[in-house]
Each structure stands twice: as C-alpha cells, then as structure tokens.
Symmetry: D2
Subunit: 325 residues, 4 copies
C-alpha cells in the first residue's frame, strides 16, 4: 500500500476499457468525432445544465487556462496561500494570463478566510490604474488540506465575487471526492452555488490524462477555443481523451472511485487516530489524510514500506480509487 499521492495510481478498468474500445478504425481528428460529441452531451447531463467544456491533459492547464479566460492581464486572482494555483504550477496562471497577479490569502485548513478575502478585495481600488484590478476568486474543492467548503460557504464566495464584478472559479482537481464527502451532486456544488467556471479533474480519480475546463456561462467561453489551441492543448486524436471523460462521468465511475478513495482514507484515518503519538492535522473528509507522526512511528512506517512525502512538518497520505484494504 502506497499513499504518496493519488497520482501514483494507474487508470481504472472502465476508463482503460473505453480507451481500447475507441481504438477501432478512423475518426476525425481535433474533436470532430463521435466520442467527443458524446462527451459534450454527457457534460450537459452531468451538470444538469448546458455547459461548455474543453478537455485538457493536466490540472495545471485546466487551472491556468480557466483563470486566463476569466482574468485580464491586469487582474488579481484571490486564492489561498497554499493553493495549488499559487504554489504548485510554476507560475502557469501568470503565464497564461499575460502577467496577472495571484493575491494569496490566509485561512485555516487551506480554506480562504472570508474576512481576509473581503479586506483584500476592498484594499484594491477599482479604477485606480496603479493597481491590479480584482477579477477572480479561486477556491479548491476538496482543498489542499483535504477539507471541503460547505455549499453555503461556496454560495458566500460566489456572492462576494458577483457583488464586486468578479468571477468564482473552482479548482476541482478532486471535485468528485468533495461531492462524495458532501453527498451532493456536481451541479449543486458548482453552478447552483454560483460558480462561473471550474477545473474539472479526472486524472487523480481513475483517468489517464483527462481534465477539463468547464464554463457554466457560455459567454465566458468566448474565444476560448483559440486559447486552448494556442496553448497546445487541442489533441489530434481527441477521441482518446474524450472517451476518458465520457466514461468517467457515465455510470457513476467518478462517484464509485471517489467513494472508495474517501472510504479508504476514512478507514486509514480512524486507524491512525487510535494510535498513540499520531495527530490528524485536518479533518479527513475526502481521500487525503494529513497526520503528524511522532518520530518513532515515522521510522516504523518507513520500515514497512509506506512511502510518503518526507521532510514536511506534516505527512499527507492520499487514498485512491484502487487503494486496497
């Protein structure tokens, strides 16, 4: 059993079978194929509303491209100081926006503190050319500490955003784990709360290389097809990525995988809590468990083959769709 990351798992059987199934004969390239057509329809069903979705390969791309669609180059993106967007993308959002500024905010358990957010937004003077202009709030759901925002909290962020003319973006690299944790539908957690766009993640939860940028308001996607191509993200043999997303959304694959991962994390979490010298850093809501091990335990774990992020004040353990008991 390894808990280094949910990225270390492979591809779940349903997705791999689907990839194999479309490897038959020829298909028009660049998205003019049957699998992509199906996928587009399925996205609408999945979100229970017409959406505009663009497949990409990595979460970095999904995040950077969505932010670029929502934020002018002189804009400010408000995000948590430990968000993937701010910390783990090597500046991709700055690159794709043409130099927008990420304003990083504090908050316990990697959740943006609302008071700080409001103060930060209003510290920038709209119409003052010396300052970047508020443009986007980005939250991660389930977030980098494995913790969820409640639907009410998401609604609050959307309200704060819209009152000031900003957009709300959700980094949903692990949105499936969040839906399971909150027992809600993707629609309930996103546009029904007021989210404008989303980085839709599938790779961490059983796909091979499939994420998407999803717009809940069609007008926000204007020109996006050019950003997408121009960044190098329009695949020639598109069917092989579309079918991953199609399969992932259909037949509850996304939900089953996430439910399993969450359950495994919960089990791991409960077992660890019983042990002396172990402390949970955050509540285990999804598939991520954050613990502080005592030094003694840490050594024992290492000897028993549990890989984990080393040299950190806390250790992150990630369960996956294929984590076995």
């Amino acid at each position: 059993m390894l808990f280094g990351s949910d990225n270390i798992s492979g591809v779940c059987p349903e997705v791999m079978d689907a990839i194999l199934s479309v490897n038959v004969g020829t298909a028009s390239s660049y998205g003019n194929d049957a699998a992509t057509e199906m996928m587009n329809a399925t996205f609408n069903e999945f979100f229970e509303t017409p959406v505009t979705a663009f497949p990409v390969f990595t979460g970095t791309t999904a995040n950077a491209l969505s932010v670029a669609a929502l934020c002018p180059s002189w804009g400010a993106v408000f995000c948590h100081e430990s968000s993937h967007l701010a910390v783990d993308e090597c500046g991709a959002p700055e690159f794709y926006t043409g130099g927008a500024k990420l304003v990083t905010l504090p908050g316990q358990h990697a959740k943006i503190d609302v008071t700080s957010l409001k103060a930060s937004i209003s510290s920038l003077h709209v119409g003052n050319p010396h300052e970047v202009q508020p443009a986007v709030i980005s939250i991660t759901q389930i977030n980098e500490a494995g913790v969820t925002y409640s639907l009410d909290q998401i609604r609050e962020f959307a309200d704060i955003a819209h009152e000031s003319g900003l957009y709300l973006h959700i980094d949903g690299s692990r949105f499936a784990n969040a839906c399971v944790a909150l027992d809600c539908s993707p629609a309930e957690m996103t546009w029904q709360c007021g989210a404008d766009a989303m980085s839709f993640g599938a790779s961490k939860n059983g796909a091979m290389c499939a994420e998407a940028v999803v717009f809940f308001r069609e007008e926000l996607a204007q020109g996006f097809m050019y950003r997408h191509k121009r960044g190098g993200h329009l695949l020639a043999k598109m069917r092989f990525i579309s079918i991953q997303l199609e399969t992932y959304m259909r037949n509850e694959v996304w939900h089953r995988n996430a439910a399993h991962a969450n359950a495994m994390a919960k089990r791991l979490s409960r077992g660890l809590e019983l042990l002396p010298g172990i402390e949970l850093s955050h509540k285990t809501e999804g598939n991520l468990v954050f613990v502080k091990f005592s030094e003694a335990i840490r050594q024992r774990l290492g000897q028993n083959g549990y890989e984990a992020y080393a040299g950190q004040p806390r250790t992150r353990l990630a369960a996956s769709f294929d984590t076995s008991v």
Copy 2:
C-alpha cells in the same frame, strides 16, 4: 479507406499494448518512474548521442516550446510560408516566445528557398534595436508538401544558421516518414547535419498522444523544465506517455509504421498517376500525396467514400501506419 489525415488513425497495437502493460500498480508521478527512465535512455540510443528530451502531447506544443527555447521574444524565426508553424498553430509560437516574429519565406514544394532565406536574414540588421533579431531557422522534414530536404540541404541550412548565430530547428512531426524516404537514421538526419533541436513526432505514426521536444545540445535545454511545466505539459501519470515514446522508438515500430505508410502512399500515388484527369502536385516521397483531381473524378471519389480536405485547390491524401491495401 480514408485519407483525410494520418491523425484519423488510431493507436498501433505495439503502443496500445505498452500502455496497457504499464497500467499495473503504482508509479511515481511527474516522470520519476521506470518507464520514463527507460524512455530517456532509449532516446539516447535512438539518436546515437546523449539528447535531452521532454515529452508533450501535441505537435503544436512541441513546435511552440522548442521555438521558445531557441528564440528570445525579440527574435525572428525563419520558416516556410506554408509551414505548420506559421499557418496551423493559431499563433502558438508567438504566444510561447512572448511575441517573436515568424518571417515566412517562399519556396517550391513547401521547401524554403535558400536564396530568399539568405536575403531575409541579411535584411535584418543585427544590433539595430528597431528590428527583430534573427534567431532560428525552422524546417519541416518531411514537409507540408510531403517532400524531403536532402541531408546536404539540411546541412546547408545548419551552416547558414550557425554562421549567423542562429539555431536550426526541425519540425519532425513526420520525421519517421522522412527517414524512411531518405533511407537514413534519425541521427544522420538531425544532429549529424547540424540541427540543434527538433519537434519529435509520434502521434501521426501510431502513438496516441506522444510527441517530444529534443535538444541535441544540452545547454539549449537550460530552464526548459520550467517552460514545460508552466505551459501545462508535465503529465502526472507520466508513465502513460513515456511508454508510448519508448515503444515507438524500440523494436523499429517507428520505422515499420512509416515504411508502411510511405509504401501505401507510393502505391496510391502510382495508381492515381495512371488515371486521366489527375495530376500530382508534388513528388510522393513520404506518406502524403497531393493531387489535383478533375471535377469529374472528385465527384466520383466522394460517391465512393473517400473523405478528403474539401474546397482546396489541391487535395491532400495521407496514408497511415494502418492504411490497408
């Protein structure tokens, strides 16, 4: 039988089997895995010299990122006026370079005319801050008209480039077809002719979504890992792309696939030449056949299910690794 593009084919059996074969257990993410290690070693063997290679998903990315590594934002890239780089990337090279200029050149059969190239380079005044500065020559091999540059011609381009402090880039989206056509090795066609970097294509010749940027001089790759990540091209589950490239290069898959496609194109080409009212626009050297059909023939082809690019003065027919007789 369809000849719309080599992109309409699926994945060749060897590559698909390899993808399946690595879908076992866990593997470190972002390239710290066994398949990627193998791939790196295989790249060196394949090119018979140490190279630095970065996998990407699309040819657009391979082209735009390599050019960005070789050309400052104030640089000029000399390429053919019908090159993919100039015409079919929605400005990706301009985006990734931060606004470099593509200087497009004429030349028969999509081959850069050397006299025009020299004139164009020397028309820019080195050290004059009002003008963009010559930086890169980019040729496509096998090119957009399905025609090859001879090794001597590539050497000439490299010499022209290096005499003026420029780099030579090869868009090798179909380099395998060129190697087969010229009966030479990848090494002979690239760095042994003086090429500095290359867009290495595999997707059009049997892979699913696997291209690479290959540097033949290590110092040119400095900082490239950040460009790569920042553009969104560092895959989490890297093994699934690395194994495509690994398999493609090993066991002559690349060569067999290209040889088949070339042979099919040649056969098609010969058959067409015999027919009245058909004219070849360019010599058929690789897997691309360019014909001018008379209107009568065009209609008959349509009725018999041959898809092809429509509304063009000439029609491109592309054979693939799986084109059947």
Copy 3:
C-alpha cells in the same frame, strides 16, 4: 539643411513655450492636473466628437498599445509589408498583444493592395481554432512612402473591416501632413471615414515627446488605462506631456508645422525633378521625398553635407516644421 528624418528636428517654439509655462508651482500627478483636463477637452474639439485619448511618449507605444486594445492575442493584424508596425518596432505589437500575428501585405507605394487584403482576410477561417483570427486592419496615413490614402480609400478599408468584424486602425504618426495634403480635417480623415482608433503623432511635427492613442468608440478604451500604466506609460509629471498635445492641437500649430514641412518637401521635390539623373520613387504628397539618385549625384550631395539614409536602393528625404529654404 538636413533631411535624414523629421525626428532630427527639435521642438517648435509654441510647444517649448508651453512646456515652460506649466513649470510653475505644483500640480497633481498622473494626469489629475489642469493641463491634462484642458488637453482632454481639446482632443474632443480637435476631432469634433467625444474621443478617448491616452498620451504616450513614442510612436512605437502608440501603435503597439492601440493594436493591443483592438486585437486578442490570437488575432491577426493586416498591414503593409513595409509598414512601421511590421518593420520598425522590434516586434512591439507582438509583445503588447501577447503574441498576435502581423499579416503583411503587398501594394504599390506602401499602400495596402485591396485585393490582397480581401484575399488575405478570407484565407483565414473564422472559427477554425488552428488559425489566428482576423482582428485589425492597420493603415498608415501619410504612409511610409509619403503617400496618402484618399478619404474614399479609407472608407473602403473601414467597410472591409467592419463587414468582417474587424477594426480599422490608423497609424497617424504623420497624420498632420496627410490632413494638409488632402486638405481635410482630422475628423474627416478618421472617424468620419470609419476609423476606430488611431496612433496620434505629434513628435515628428514639432512636439518633444508626445503621441497619443485615440479611440473613436469609447467602448474600445475599456481597460485601456491599465494597459497604459502597466506598460510604463503613465507619466508622473503628466502636465509636461499633456501641454505639448494641447498646444499642438490648439491654434493650428499642428497644421502650420505640417503645411510648412509639406511645402518644403514639395519645393525640394520640384527642384530635384529638374535635375538629370534623379527620379522620384513616389509622388511627394507630404513631407517625405523619395528619390533615386544616380551615383554621381549621390557623391556630390554627400560632399555638400546632405545627410540621408545610406545603402538603400532609394533615399528618403524628410522635411520638417523647421526646414529652412
């Protein structure tokens, strides 16, 4: 007498006096001053309609910023192959747009050939993500060959632009010379012909360092104040640039200066035409004279102190507001 460029002249007396006149006491910085307020009002009077104007220091900035306001990063700007925009800005338009593409067009006497323009626009497929998208037509008036477009021709360009959803930009670095040549008002030559935005030049015609981006449709200026600041073009002691533009537009300074320069060029031109071995390359309409000298004459001119662009197939002679008889 020197004819190297109109940039080699200094500042005309009216502008220099005005600069001195505002150097009294304090004034709010960054444009919140009386001179800037006056200038804004004067711009409206000058163009006989409400316009939105942003002072900048150089023609490069005026061109690059206006194009960036009109063209998305995936857009195409159609301009003449010898336009300043394409040839003499070291790629500034590409930089400020985030990598748009300048599509350069042929045409006699540096005037865009309309047939080529139409063909070029329609060669790009709107909605095809592989291609940059038509966005702007940019013409230079009086152009790089010293020749004017007639008002009818400008109207034609505007119509072509607007029919396809493009904007018409005028590089008016020497617009004053054009107004004099055509005996028309700035309004007649710009928005009344359908122009959407303009690079307004004053430096070549008597100012010290004063150009402007002028928008004839307010909505096009949206967000422009941030581009302007972010590029480093918002001067702290703004009154010193505003007063230049104010003075330039008031009291016919612009017209007198241009009329003088044009007259001097015409006189020079007529004198030259009488001489054997001299040929005018273009009709002399404004302040620029283009001649082909025979070698003998060229030597004699050099010996008599006439500086001019050397090593060119043709020689450009520029008259200025202070060119003496």
Copy 4:
C-alpha cells in the same frame, strides 16, 4: 506648501535650462546624438565605474524592465509587501517578465525582514519544476516608508542573493535622498555593496521625465536594447531626455536637490514632533515624513491648505527640491 508627493513639483531650473539648451538645430535621433554620448560618459563618472544605462520615462518602466532583464518568466522576485514594485505598478513587472511571480515579504518600516527573506528563498526548491525559481531580490532605497537600508544591510542582501545565484536590484526612485541621508556616494550605495542593477530615479527630484535602468555588470544588459525598444521606450528625440539625466548628475544637481528636500522633511518632522497628538510612524531619514495625526489636527491642517493622502491610517508628507520654508 503642498506635501502630497514629490511628483507634484515641476522641473528644477538647471534641468529646464538644459532642455532649452539642446533645442537648437538638428540632432540624430534614437540616441545617436551628442547629449546622449555625454550622458553615457557621465553615468560612468557618476558611478565611478563603467555602467550600462538606458533612459526611460517612468519609474514603472525602470522597475519592470530591470526586473525583466534579471528574471526569467518562471522566476521569483522577492520584495517587500509594501514595495512600489508589488503594489503600485499595476502588475508591470509581471507583464514585462512574461509572468514572473513577486513574492512579497513582511518587515518593519517597509524594510525586508532578513529572516523572512531567507526562509522564503529556501522554501522554493531549486530544480523543482512545480515551483517558480528564486531569481531576484529587490529593495527600495530610500524605501516606501522613507527609511534607508544601511550599507551593511545592502551588502547582506547582495550576499544572500549571490550565494543562491540571485541578483540584487535596487529600486532607486529616490536614491539621491538615500545618498544624502547616508552621506555616501552612489557607487558606495550600489555596486560597491554588490547591487547588480538599479532603477535610477531623477523625476521625483527635479527632472521632467527621466529615469534609467542601470546595469553594474555589462553582461546583464545583453539584449536589453531590444526589450527597451520593444516596450516603446526608445525616444526619437532622445537628446531631450539624455540632457535631463546628464544635467541631473553633473554639478551636484541631484545632491543639492535631495539635500534640500531631506532638510525640509527633517525640519517639518521636528516641528511636528513637538506638537501634541502627532506621532511619527517612521524615522524621517529622507524627504518623506509619515505621521499619525489626531483627528483634531487633521482637520486643522485641512483648513490650512495642506493636501495629503486621505483615508489612510497614516499620512505621508513628501518634501521636494523646491519645498520652501
């Protein structure tokens, strides 16, 4: 008497006279003129070492262009959280670098806290493609709180920078006030402490529109002429900006102006300290005074015509070269 900013003052007599003095006859454009040649020589004398200097018009440009020269697009620039670079440039550094990240640091009196700096640098993992890479430390001298770094402290920053392969940049928008405050030469305060590049300010201290980017290591200026032009900062009638810098550096104009402003600020500061209900927020070292007024005093000042930044927790008063007693 107004203390809103040192930018509200006009141009000092010496600089204005010099501007007038070069407005005679013609001069080659774009810097090939006598005034620019003089200026270049004077820069070397001024800094007692060969430097490479590029005139620009605004402090924003000086800062953004110098940072762009020192920092790759995937780099991190460490600066104070209240630095002009981070707060008042509308994201110009992000724009010119192509999307680098400003890492903002705390520290009393707007001085970067060294411990935080070291922690922040080492929190980024060199060679990890997921993270931006440490590239530049930027300090402001005299800083945004009107406070100086000692020469020893600057040396410490340079050492920290160079030990990790970073560069030290000084935002010297008010460097003259700092030299006066520390009673040191420009050389002592910059390259002799290890600074690599500097934003050289003159506009706030008596010039009209003259700043410069100064490189203390020639190799850092490589390619800078193209960045400079491409950003729109190469003035045609260059003599008018060069002569400002030339005059400013010669004959102690810079020193006299700054000494006067500092003395006036000191006098103001002393007077204020004697009054009840007034507290200085920072030590008055240069020309900036920061006070907390009681509400009663604030009202009285307003009635007596003292303009000042309103609505701030503290009030900044700026003395200038022409502040009278």
